[in-house]
Amino acid sequence: MKERSGAAAHAFDRREFLRVTGAGVAGLGLLGFAGCGGDDGGGGGGGGGGNEPVTLRWSMWSGSPEETQVWQDLADDVKAKYPNITVKLETTTFQTYWDKLQTQVASNTQADIIGMQAQRMPGFAARGALAPLQEQIDRNPSVNYQDFFPVIQDALSFEGQPHALAYDLGPPLLYYNRDLFKAARIPVPSSTEPMSWEEFRELAQRLTDAGSRQYGYAQDWGFDWIIPWIWSNGGDYMNEDASASTLDAPEAMEGMQFLSDLYRDEIAAPVTDFADPTAGLNRFLSGRVAMHPNGPWQIVNLRANAKFNFDVAPIPAGSAGSIAWAAGSGFGVSSATDNADAAFNAISVITGEEALKSLTAAGRGYPARQSAVPIFEEERPPAHAAIVEEVLNSEIARTETRPFRSTATWQETDVMLTQDLIPSVFLGDPSIEEAVRNVKPKFDALLTRAKDIESRG
């Protein structure tokens, strides 16, 4: 059960491919089961949803039958708390989920409860597909909204309004392979103080042995993973009000150049696959890469699949600090639903404290509620699991976590950056300057289009 809520998966990887068939069959089976469940009329109800029996559809992505079962259990929990609400779970794979959701919204056949990812939320919120939730949050103090990490509240808010309640979140962390450090007799990175870029580069250099195909570093090639290098160097990819791209500012270009140089100098493992968004992670999993940035949602995957000891540290600090984003996933209410109150009650159960504790115990990633964090920290490795909370709340010196900044045209922007910027960062061709010169007007045009969509929506 690999968490895919972060930047992890745009296209599907090998493992997911193998799981697709199974998940589809299981999904169908569960739908049948839920459909037969029927409902036993109004019961305890309460909480503002009324007592009329209602059936809600819940669309969510899932990569395996086990994952689907975890969500199904939560659907059953909704029924236990609100006997008048029956939740029918509809799952599909992460990759197809977004195409399907878009088509459903266009044809007005979307589910009442919609699985949503922070990066993509503005695209749907700006087009009016997701209902704003502030009023319902105010009406239902039992939701205990302030328990959610503030940074994920922000990441799932659009124009100041929450549009989804989160179940998980994460900042990039620097994972490292303890065994490789031990073999090279190099002290492991500090988990309480981020190292500087210079220290990081030197460390990566010492851990690289290109002859035996061992590298100091590898990262996934998506733009999400380039952002921390830009931010940590004091730059950004768009200005304050998201009206123009700032990738051409020297801070942003230097940040990207620093990363690019790691690849040019073969301190980082070469990218061999631009179709696999988790290519860097797979390199790290192979045990031949010393350091790799990824979200806490990968810890479960690493526990299961890494044949080495690993731990986590804050990402390296550039001239402006160790600055990364937080993103995560949650559930929103369709603005087309006839049962907005019931749907809100359902998501308040699905993202409630009990639910997030059981999700965390089941390995679904890092909980979006601070009250569920102790469950996450119970298991080892990593020995320094506790730093995730400190990083998220920007409690470590020189470390800062900001909500992921995205727009109504983010998905398109990401495709454009993959085409026009990514090759120059990882292959050095063309130069960063040339790529940015090409990217800047396109980025600006997409931001203008996003503003246009927001004003129409």
Partner: protein, 283 residues
């Protein structure tokens, strides 16, 4: 009457979407917002769009390289297995296997074959002293990698069609030529090729149309990258429609693709009079 179900199906699932797609090409259609007529704006944007240009050139490159290779290899394989030898059926089956395998599955396997350090391709090249490239992340080699894989996958189908064509050539023509002292090469040039020309026309038309629609390989093996070096027209239609939500723009690209395919096919039929033998076939 009995045709009714299929006629209705044709109109609902084929004719209507085709007509609708042509119409949508003249709209600004954000899938989640609704549409607005904008005349030729989409086409004016296409002309200025460097990704579209790249996709167009890439598709031409792919087609012009893969069609001849696939046709020649298909013909070669057909000649090889056109013998009444024992076990030849097995070879026919083996050559056809790639064609009947799902492209996505094949493409996933070829991703491993193309891995630079441990992949099969570079290992084999290493045996003959060639230091193979980083196939799928090289702007130069990513497209040839897709072409090689696609040719490998498609030539078996061409082989089957050619085989049927070969077996329809009357034996007496070869017998007569032998009596006249024609060499094997001359028999091939003067009997096999002309007699096979209607088959060749069919194979060419089908291959061209198939190549212009190349999509799965690019999506799975390179996702159109690095950069836009393997972004094909159909992949770009998908990106425009489902990742950028610009359905009208996607329809405009589809319309351009349709016009190109129609033009190339028409051209092939016009040129066929020059080289396709129709003698006995037409009676």
């Amino acid at each position: 009457m009995f045709l009714l179900p299929s006629v209705v199906g044709f109109f609902i699932f084929t004719a209507f979407p085709v007509v609708a797609a042509i119409g949508l090409a003249f709209y600004d259609y954000d899938l989640l917002f609704g549409r607005e007529f904008n005349g030729l704006q989409n086409f004016q944007d296409l002309v200025k769009d460097d990704v579209f240009r790249a996709a167009f050139v890439n598709t031409l490159y792919f087609t012009l390289a893969s069609v001849p290779l696939s046709v020649v290899l298909g013909l070669g394989a057909a000649l090889l297995v056109n013998h009444a030898l024992r076990g030849v059926v097995i070879f026919r089956t083996i050559y056809l296997l790639p064609y009947v395998t799902v492209t996505v599955a094949v493409a996933l396997v070829w991703r491993w074959i193309y891995l630079p350090e441990v992949g099969l391709m570079n290992t084999i090249l290493g045996w003959v002293g060639i230091d193979g490239p980083n196939w799928l992340t090289s702007k130069t080699w990513a497209m040839p990698a897709l072409i090689i894989m696609s040719v490998w996958k498609s030539f078996g189908y061409n082989m089957v069609i050619f085989l049927a064509g070969l077996q329809a050539i009357p034996q007496h023509l070869y017998d007569a030529a032998k009596v006249d002292g024609a060499t094997a090469w001359k028999r091939f040039i003067h009997i096999t090729l002309p007699m096979l020309s209607p088959t060749t026309l069919f194979v060419m038309v089908i291959s061209f149309i198939g190549s212009f629609q190349v999509f799965d390989q690019a999506l799975v093996m390179t996702n159109g990258g690095p950069g836009t070096s393997t972004t094909t027209l159909v992949l770009y239609i998908y990106q425009a429609g489902f990742q950028s939500y610009k359905m009208g723009y996607a329809s405009a690209i589809a319309l351009v693709l349709f016009v190109v395919v129609a033009a190339v096919t028409a051209l092939q039929f016009m040129l066929q009079r020059r080289w396709v033998y129709e003698g006995e076939a037409r009676r």
